[in-house]
């Protein structure tokens, strides 16, 4: 009897759990693992999207290096690193006319980053800001409009720093009047003292989850390098958490998506890119359970609730986009110098 029941279960399984006709392998950041984002595409195209998370462009490229051509179909990449990944032959050109960039915020088309030698290798999908997040019941919001307040002594021991050297060094640079595009080995020398001062005033340097936890539990009252991506998922439970772009400016992070070179399913891969950059895909991606961020496609606004738009500061985007600078794009020597300065700061 048990055998018959087991056999019936095995026979019934394919019917109960239909297997998709095709699979798409995506190398992504954690916001693309949300079923609410993937399921509509899977259902519409009878496909299973297999996702693998990675952090850091070098780590993503190492995964591609260790894979056979055709293993991966699409890849999410830091927009400022698209040229680097494309130059390594990891991205395939995609037809620009197939992308809805006409509906994008003009600043987010980012042809300088996504288009190389006239060929489009990726398309911007999401953006946000690395600025200052804070608990407005614990700090004076007016103070947060000026980066100098962070090292004034008033908030010593109440500051957390986001553990990623690029945006934080970019912010420290802005505080010193150095544009992110001008950050090089020479300019870093001038950032050492203010970075060390910021470290001295801070309690911890931590990753995304630890920074969120610290802000939510009152371990720190301010996170330098934070932004909507840090506070938005906590907004419902803790409306006191806020963020701003200080008068010195903030950094804009952007992520792009492209088709991996060597994919055996270029049409399906492009279809996925089109879905992600469509209004529907953009609205889901903006509110991903891992982290929120602004959609590049303005038409997603029609699908977002007023509450979600308020959390994302939809109406403030013209002002924010004008005041925020792109991430620094360091050459290899500057990158190493930045890492060394960061290491020195952590071990001071």
């Amino acid at each position: 009897m048990k055998r018959i029941a087991a056999l019936a279960l095995v026979c019934a399984t394919p019917a109960a759990f239909p297997v998709a006709a095709e699979e798409l392998n995506a190398l992504v950041w954690c916001d693309h693992t949300d079923p609410a984002l993937l399921e509509p595409f899977e259902a519409a195209n009878d496909v299973t999207v297999n996702v693998k998370e990675y952090e850091g462009t070098a780590a993503g490229m190492a995964i591609l290096d260790q894979s056979a051509p055709g293993d991966w179909d699409v890849m999410v990449v830091d927009s400022v690193d698209v040229a680097r990944v494309a130059a390594a032959g990891k991205l395939a050109p995609i037809p620009a006319e197939a992308l809805p960039t006409g509906d994008f915020f003009p600043e987010l088309v980012m042809a300088a980053q996504n288009v190389i030698d006239g060929k489009t290798y990726a398309v911007t999908e999401k953006f946000g800001y690395n600025t200052i997040s804070y608990d407005k019941t614990k700090v004076d919001p007016a103070d947060m409009e000026d980066m100098a307040a962070l090292t004034s002594g008033k908030y010593d021991g109440k500051i957390g720093i986001y553990d990623y050297y690029l945006p934080v060094l970019g912010l420290v640079g802005l505080g010193q009047g150095v544009a992110t595009a001008d950050l090089n080995v020479g300019a870093l020398e001038g950032l050492k003292a203010p970075l060390m001062a910021l470290r001295k005033a801070s309690k911890q340097v931590s990753d995304v989850v630890s920074s969120q936890t610290a802000l939510a539990t009152g371990e720190v009252d301010i996170v330098v390098g934070g932004g909507e991506w840090l506070t938005a998922v906590l907004a419902a439970d803790n409306p006191n958490l806020d963020w701003t772009i200080p008068k010195q400016g903030g950094l804009r992070w952007t992520q792009s998506i492209g088709v991996v070179a060597g994919t055996t399913k270029p049409d399906l891969a492009l279809k996925f890119v089109q879905y992600i950059t469509s209004a529907e895909g953009q609205a889901a991606l903006a509110q991903s359970s891992c982290y929120w961020g602004m959609p590049a496609n303005m038409k997603a606004g029609a699908l977002l609730s007023d509450e979600a738009k308020a959390v994302l500061r939809w109406d403030m985007q013209p002002d924010y986009l004008a005041r925020a600078q792109l991430y620094p794009v360091p050459d290899a020597a500057t990158d190493t110098a930045m890492q060394d300065l960061w290491t020195e700061m952590l071990n001071q």
């Binding site: 911890q204 290491t343 071990n347």
Partner: protein
């Protein structure tokens, strides 16, 4: 070759191949890579010692190594000091039929995810966490416990006391009570018996557990990252920093080789008493 030797080779070859494929070859590749250098973003193979010079010569890099060794030694010593009495209590004072349950209780925290446990400690030690609330109830604190070396050591110790308790218990339970009786018959007091007879006899269990603690602790990235709050950098964190965005794999390899060298030194120091069959 005799049939017996051929059979022995056949029996040992799967393990040998496994070790070759998943340890010896990758380690050789890592060693080779550690002598390479970066030109722009490209790894250029060579025989340069520049990565080692930087790792051991640059104060901030050397500090990471020193931090790792200091934390690991502290954790190992504290864990042994706590695990030995616990193991002894279970082996000698708990009735035989309850010993299994007592050991189960001791290792119960193993069943929780390592990452979840670390985040839990971060919450417990926080400014508004349970510990500071308890201190606050008696008019003390709040104390800065989270994001400190203390938090890292505590998180590690919580984990490794369980491991050490098992290895030391395994040693103690095999010890015949006649050794203690003989020592006391010859006039030794309880402390003297413990110091001169019991402790030396349990040394293999202690050293084996301590060595495993040392190896796991010095190579751990998660606990210092979550509990230490990056108030200081350890060697595994520095290795991760080389790989994340920059992709400086030669430097990361050199730091990893140094890490392995420290572990090898620890092995050499403890080899005399090491009994890996106790694990």
């Amino acid at each position: 070759m005799s049939d017996e030797r051929r059979l022995a080779l056949a029996l040992v070859s799967p393990a040998l191949l496994w070790t070759l494929a998943f340890f010896a070859v990758p380690f050789a590749a890592m060693l080779l890579l550690s002598f390479a250098h970066m030109e722009g973003r490209t790894v250029v193979q060579g025989l340069s010692l520049a990565n080692y010079a930087k790792a051991l010569g640059e104060p901030s890099h050397l500090k990471a190594l020193i931090n790792s060794v200091e934390i690991t030694v502290t954790v190992t010593v504290v864990s042994v000091a706590l695990a030995w009495p616990l193991a002894a209590t279970i082996a000698w004072s708990v009735p035989a039929r309850w010993q299994r349950a007592a050991l189960l209780m001791a290792v119960l925290p193993f069943w929780t995810s390592y990452v979840v446990r670390s985040y839990s400690w971060a919450l417990v030690l926080g400014k508004n966490g349970v510990v500071n609330q308890a201190f606050g109830a008696v008019g003390l604190g709040p104390f800065e416990l989270a994001s400190t070396r203390f938090a890292t050591v505590l998180g590690f110790t919580h984990f490794f006391v369980m491991l050490l308790t098992l290895t030391i218990y395994a040693n103690l339970i095999q010890l015949s009570p006649n050794y203690a009786r003989a020592a006391q018959d010859l006039g030794a007091g309880r402390l003297r018996t413990l110091w001169h007879v019991i402790l030396p006899l349990t040394l293999p269990g202690i050293v084996t557990g301590a060595f495993v603690t040392f190896v796991l602790c010095i190579g751990d990235y998660i606990t210092p990252q979550i509990l230490g709050g990056n108030t200081e950098l350890t060697l595994p964190q520095l290795i991760m920093l080389q790989m994340g965005r920059g992709g400086n794999f030669p430097m990361a390899s050199a730091l990893s080789v140094i890490l392995m060298a420290v572990v090898t030194l620890a092995y050499a120091a403890s080899a005399r008493w090491l009994r890996l069959d106790r694990l």
